[in-house]
């Protein structure tokens, strides 16, 4: 690439008008484990692969899906440690909003604050962009919502989206199967089938994670046995 001369410094545009570090960050995301989200009529589901580097790793100690507020959850694709920093900052911002307005933060506002943090790291000295894309699922007064936030700091609202290794196959699969009237349970089945598409090995309750939020506006992470129940329904 002719841009390679400009790929050492974050704060420099390349002649083609790109910030090369951000492109590289997106590549880092693209080589991360697949994660996806689907917005149903009465809720949102997010899911991810949980491939551990070895069978000796205790899978109960790893949790990729995190809760930001009682009604907003998040999953990532890319570098795990970077996502931890963002989760911590987002939780704090949500809490600061609550302390000021005495109201839970709306999903769009939290997404915007998180995206602002990610953008700051693309325009400051001595730092690098975050190597994660986040899928934020929430349910507030405006109904169920699903947002994707990229390392550049841009965010999009999706009806269904996927990120990571198998993104193109997953997105094609979702495009074919997405229906706006879908109920949450069917959305979970669709999510599992999409993950199954690109899954290497035997899918089970221990190597995927699923988080749901439905009409009660409470974000829950499903236990491995609950995931097994869904898997049995799908198989």
């Amino acid at each position: 690439m002719g841009d390679s001369q400009y790929s050492f410094s974050l704060t420099t545009f390349s002649p083609s008008g790109k910030l090369v570090q951000i492109e590289h960050a997106l590549t880092a995301v693209g080589s991360g484990q697949t994660s996806l989200g689907i917005k149903a009529a009465n809720g949102v589901v997010i899911a991810t692969e949980k491939k551990l580097p070895s069978i000796l790793v205790d899978e109960t100690s790893v949790q990729k899906i995190q809760i930001l507020t009682p009604n907003i959850g998040v999953v990532y694709s890319g570098m795990g440690p970077d996502s931890r920093v963002l989760v911590r900052k987002s939780r704090k911002q949500a809490e600061q909003y609550f302390r000021l307005y005495k109201e839970p933060i709306p999903v769009t506002q939290l997404v915007r604050e998180t995206a602002t943090v990610m953008q700051e790291f693309t325009q400051s000295g001595g730092v690098r962009p975050f190597g994660v894309s986040l899928l934020v699922a929430g349910y507030d007064d405006k109904g169920p919502q699903l947002y994707q936030v990229d390392p550049s700091g841009s965010y999009f609202s999706w009806k269904a989206s996927a990120m990571g290794k198998n993104v193109s196959n997953a997105k094609t699969f979702l495009e074919k199967r997405y229906d706006e009237e879908t109920e949450l349970d069917d959305a979970v089945h669709t999510a599992i089938l999409t993950l199954k598409e690109g899954f290497e090995g035997q899918i089970s309750g221990k190597n995927i994670e699923i988080g749901v939020i439905d009409n009660d506006k409470i974000f829950r992470i499903l236990t491995p046995s609950e995931i097994e129940d869904y898997l049995n329904e799908v198989a």
Partner: protein
Amino acid sequence: MSKIAESVPPKGGFSFDLCKRNEMLVQKGLKQPSFLKTGTTIVGLVFKDGVILGADTRATEGPIVADKNCEKIHYMAPNIYCCGAGTAADTEAVTDMVSSQLKLHRFHTGRDSRVVTALTLLKSHLFSYQGHVSAALVLGGVDVTGPHLHTIYPHGSTDTLPFATMGSGSLAAMAVFESKYREGLSRDEGVTLVAEAICSGIFNDLGSGSNVDICVITKGEKEYLRNYMLPNPRTYVSEKGYSFSKKTEVLLTKITPLRELVEVIEGGDAMEE
């Protein structure tokens, strides 16, 4: 190198810069503004299944009753509540702040908050302000390790007790507790005893009055009994009614009825996000 826009924690401690100036002004004859104190009776006791907290509801501003029915039992966590005596703003702000910190802590650890966590956060904050944050607290709750009750003094020292009282009415309430408390009280006995202690404070201390608030916390459950007792109802209302004397000139009488129906316009322009 430009700075990352992250919040830098303050260097800590109270800034004493203006204290000399204030002293000088007082010497020159300036009357320092008074602050709203909750001359108060707050109590807590441990019973068989958990903790019961009680408080009166009077907020005073010197000799004047500023609020006849204020809330002195503050929420800290689903399983922890805190009664506050002292300056109303200080108790409100400090319990709000620690409640917020506990919430973040719950997200990070994935566990329910423990009473000792709240205790440590409160005492270290109060100590770093060297007693200038005038908040005397009775902290009680039930966590995985069992029921706990603590008192926290404005300078940051704490006590762990089976029964505790704080505030200007604390001696009146403690007299009731010392004579009638025993271990292993049932819920109803405990609530009666707490109500009695608060009433003792209400009737014998000028700084406490109005109603009794009670909060019962047990494992997995809490009952916030706002205005559990109202021993000071307004009994005398003048028969003649309250109206303007004949000498008052009434210039204009216009009654604007309250709008009962609010129209929600669907599909209007959305607000700029």
